[in-house]
């Protein structure tokens, strides 16, 4: 099956007064129809900016400086603004982290849903409302008629996120990018949302990119995983392979620092040091300072290697 989304050599840089921030520095992956990709990394790794780049939402002082993004065969980086706009919310959709502020607090739910439909299709207001009603029911919101006339602040966080999901899926996009959508929610709700999203994507055939800093979330959800560090993908592959046999020291560090993996009563395992500032990236492997396996060979940025089928790795001292 050909990939519905293929990203290759993506570089998104921010040209600020303080210097050039290489937020995304040579990122590539492929996403198949109906599959889920987990994009994992800590704050500052560039995972959110990757999502924005694919959506075309990167603005001054940042821009995509190199690379290709192919959505259903079409090259996105060469599109003009109007063409981008037609794709957004239509063929690619995005869900954000904090549902409290994602929905406009002074507009009604139906206004915000109907406009998402009417921005891309010619439908009557009544027909649009009907579709919205169905969409709300589909994401598991009861009595949709009342809900449509309400305002965002009248809902709980979990409900708001469901509404945001409903809006994202309204136009049956081919790709949905979810940027840490459960981080701001209660743990119990997190599980529900995760489950819903899985179901919805399966039912609609949309491919999903789930951006998160939490590997454990990705474990039950994703088909494949990309681990990002300092703007680069350091390791990628099928989820089971990555979780059972990580090759990059950073991935192992992430896995080991998950609290449930640590025996009770012992200090939690940590990766020593801190993530580097994207402005002060030295030559070579960005993880060098914190890696126990580092050597002088790491002074040169490791190229992407293929240690196994559909796995990539950027490391000259892999774990196996």
């Amino acid at each position: 099956m050909s990939a519905v989304l293929a990203v290759e050599g993506l570089r998104t840089h921010f040209f600020t007064r303080a210097g050039v921030v290489k937020a995304v520095d040579d990122v590539g992956f492929a996403l198949e129809r109906g599959k889920v990709l987990g994009l994992v990394g800590e704050s500052g790794s560039g995972k959110s900016i990757t999502g924005y780049s694919i959506m075309g939402l990167v603005d001054e002082p940042g821009r995509i400086v190199a690379g290709s993004i192919r959505l259903e065969g079409a090259e996105l980086t060469r599109l003009d603004r109007e063409a981008w706009r037609r794709l957004r919310g239509n063929r690619i959709a995005m869900i954000f982290q904090d549902p409290m502020m994602t929905l406009n607090p002074v507009l009604r739910i139906d206004t915000q849903m109907v406009e998402a439909l009417r921005a891309h299709q010619r439908v009557s207001h009544a027909a649009a409302l009907e579709r919205c009603r169905e969409a709300l029911a589909w994401v598991g919101i009861a009595s949709p008629d009342e809900r449509l006339r309400a305002y965002p602040h009248q809902f709980s966080g979990g409900m708001r996120q469901r509404i945001a999901i409903a809006i994202a899926l309204l136009n049956r996009p081919a790709v949905v990018i979810a940027d840490e959508p459960t981080t701001a929610l209660d743990v119990t709700i997190q599980g529900q949302i995760l489950f819903e999203m899985q179901r919805l994507c399966r039912e609609s055939g949309a491919a999903l990119i789930w951006i998160t800093h939490d590997l454990s979330v990705v474990a039950g959800l994703a088909d494949s995983v990309c681990v990002m560090y300092a703007g680069r993908i350091v390791e990628s592959g099928p989820v089971d392979a990555i979780l059972d046999a990580p090759l990059h020291p950073y991935t192992r560090g992430l896995l080991e620092s998950i609290p449930s993996r640590n025996p009770a009563g012992r200090p939690l395992a940590q990766i020593p040091g801190m993530a580097p500032s994207p402005m002060a990236l030295a030559e070579g492997c960005a993880f060098r300072e914190r890696c126990a396996r580092a050597s002088t060979a790491c002074g040169v940025a490791p190229a992407v290697s293929n240690p196994a089928v559909s796995r990539t790795l950027r490391c000259v001292h892999p774990l196996q």
Binding site: M55, L57, R85, R86, L87, R88, G89, N90, A93, M94, F96, D98, M101, T102, L103, N104, P105, V106, L107, E115, A116, A119, H120, A150, Y151, H153, Q154, F155, S156, G158, M159, A164, I167
Partner: protein, 327 residues
């Protein structure tokens, strides 16, 4: 909601009563109007008679008591100068002032909000920067000086617009208004523009600040992610959010505008309450001053109340705060 309104009303009445006392006592201290109204050659007996006729020989508290009694009946004394009820005098001149204030507010809104939006969306472009520089200019220009310059340019130099007075009026719902006649508009143009300047600058800056904050918000990001056109994102999502505080500020500033009209009216000899006040101060026409202050205080209190209520109606978060979040 009703309890809140009632409480505000009660507070307002208290403030009104307090202000009336302050006003009365303060104005009393201004000076002895007898000196002005009576021939300086007059002897003491004449002065006493005049004072008695105007009730000025009674002790302060008694005068205040009498004043309150009359005020409750709507009688705020007679003007020493014009010899008609002060309240009538004020009400005669009020439409002119209100017309001026409202005209300038309209000008400020129509020009100010779009300019502020533009400046907020492109803060570092030369357009944005010149709008901001312009607003600083508008802020810094003393109202009366701008009035002078306007007269210099449009009346003296070009001779297009008349420098003083109010134009022809027609009656609208029993109130004389001048903006419906061409002559009236010609007279209204400069004073209204002059008065609008301060409000305009304020609105531009407010709108700009609000816009700059608003476009950093997540809901704008989400609106763009939905593929909405830029026009809709700004015109609906951003605008509706920033309009709420702006409308309240406009409402609250209305009182200021009416007060500032004092200056504009003086420059352009606009026959409103402001000019009346200045003249009354110079002539020590106390009842008129008192009446003016009380009318203004009442006006302010009413405006504040209305703005408060309006705000709670406009912002759905306040209006529907009682709804319990559902799961």
């Amino acid at each position: 909601m009703a309890a809140y309104a009632l409480r505000r009303l009660g507070q307002s009445l208290l403030v009104l009563a307090l202000m009336s006392l302050l006003v009365f006592v303060g104005v009393y201290a201004i000076g002895n109007p007898i000196e002005l109204l009576v021939n300086p050659e007059a002897d003491d007996a004449e002065r006493l008679r005049a004072a008695h006729a105007l009730g000025l020989d009674k002790p302060l508290l008694v005068q205040y008591g009498v004043f309150l009694l009359h005020a409750a009946k709507g009688d705020l004394g007679r003007s020493f100068v014009y010899n008609i009820p002060a309240i009538q005098l004020i009400l005669q001149r009020l439409p002119a002032t209100l017309e001026l204030a409202l005209a300038s507010t309209v000008i400020a809104i129509v020009i100010g909000i779009p300019l502020g939006l533009l400046a907020g969306l492109k803060p570092h472009s030369w357009v944005g920067r010149s709008i901001m520089a312009g607003s600083i200019l508008g802020f810094s220009l003393p109202t009366f000086w701008v009035g002078l310059v306007l007269i210099m340019v449009f009346s003296v130099h070009f001779g297009w617009l008349p420098p003083n007075g109010r134009g022809e009026t027609v009656s609208l719902l029993g109130v004389p208004v001048s903006f419906l006649t061409l002559d009236g508009l010609r007279h209204l143009a400069m004073p209204a523009l002059n008065l609008a300047l301060l409000q305009l600058s304020l609105l531009v800056r407010l709108t700009r600040a609000g816009t700059r904050e608003a476009i950093l918000q997540d809901y704008v990001k989400f609106a763009r992610a939905k593929g909405l056109s830029t026009g809709r994102v700004i015109g609906v999502h951003v605008l509706k959010n920033i309009l709420i505080p702006i409308v309240t500020v406009i409402g609250l500033e209305l009182g200021s505008v009416i007060a500032f009209a004092i200056v504009t009216e003086s420059i352009f000899a606009w026959p409103g309450t402001g000019k009346l006040l200045i003249d009354s101060i110079n002539q020590l026409d106390r009842p008129v001053i008192v009446a003016y202050l009380l009318v203004i205080v009442t006006l302010f209190i009413v405006i504040n109340l209305v703005v408060d209520v309006l705000y709670s109606l406009l912002d759905p978060r306040v209006r529907l705060a009682t709804a319990a979040p559902a799961h």
